[in-house]
Symmetry: C2
Subunit: 194 residues, 2 copies
């Protein structure tokens, strides 16, 4: 049986972006099935008492360099975002909407690279809508869905379930009830798929 | 020239124990020089606004398993300590005293394994003194030094300098002004020694 990987994510997390750049290869090599689950990281932090390492100045300084080292190791582009922390509420609702529109991969790539490669301020609604249209994503259709109660509830529910399963940060992977936290734990994810 | 590795440590940190079990091999392979610098992690946390991940229940639960996974990977013994968090003030002053007595390696091995293998409550002064004597360390001589103003000041000074150099947690390694944080960053330490 192919193993299932639940990948709890929020576009606003740079470590999650790095994990996302590596996940397809890991899933292919492990002959696994990927289930990307949008959650609101701010909500997870609030519920668990956790907080972003970016708010400890000395840790944030180290983390910027550490993320860049990992990006170089992976051979992917990474830039810090000048508008960090970005309010990702609409972006994460958008992820659920994009799933319903069957454009989730395209949407995720646009959003992840918009924030963590191209330094776009995707927390700004007008900038976001223009950016989506430029990336051939129908922002009008997407935002009709984003504003629906169904999608708002779904994001709340995902976030609640994440916390219930022990998630306290992003990225988090769950494989057979094993919780693997952090883009720096991809080796443990690979081991879980063996 | 052999590179110098400053290893900022506190015995009370389980991640630091794991790093310590690996450091000799890394130093030998890298033909480097090791400089173990005792600091008070509680003081570092206070100065930097950082805190132990152990105080976030969901993170603490994950961390216990993650430390065990790393210990298994390294092939070393590791057990959580029932008395965590341990007040390490006397232990860290003791590290400086042990250096002056030329028994630092013996003392460090006793303290690290006492806390993180044998589940001893080394925050308790009587237990600590008995434990040292049992491990053939002259606790009377050590504690004469521990209570001296010189050693008290030295620990304060080490901690202050650590924070000035950007340290916010343990273990932290500094090689040629590159700050490497975490027992899960030993690969970056090895790379810095190449």
């Amino acid at each position: 049986m192919n193993k299932n990987v639940d990948f709890y994510f929020d576009y606003g997390s740079p470590a999650t972006y790095l994990a996302w750049t590596q996940i397809d290869k890991i899933i292919n090599d492990g002959k696994a099935k990927l289930n990307m689950i949008p959650m609101l990281l701010g909500g997870v932090f609030k519920e668990t008492g956790n907080s972003s390492p970016a708010f400890i100045p000395a840790k944030s300084k180290w983390m910027g360099k550490d993320l860049k080292k990992h990006a170089d190791l992976y051979g992917v582009e990474y830039n810090s975002n000048s508008f960090f922390p970005i309010n990702t509420l609409n972006l994460m609702r958008g992820a659920i909407a994009a799933k319903k529109m069957n454009i989730f991969e395209k949407y995720s790539e646009a959003i992840f690279t918009g924030i963590w490669v191209k330094d776009v301020n995707l927390g700004d609604l007008t900038i976001l809508q223009n950016y989506l249209n430029k990336n051939e994503i129908d922002s009008t259709q997407l935002f009709d869905l984003v504003q629906s109660d169904k999608i708002k509830s779904e994001l709340i529910e995902n976030t609640k379930q994440a916390v219930e399963k022990g998630v306290f940060g992003a990225p988090t992977f769950i494989v057979n009830n094993e919780l693997i936290f952090g883009q720096d734990r991809l080796e443990f994810l690979k081991m879980a798929l063996k």
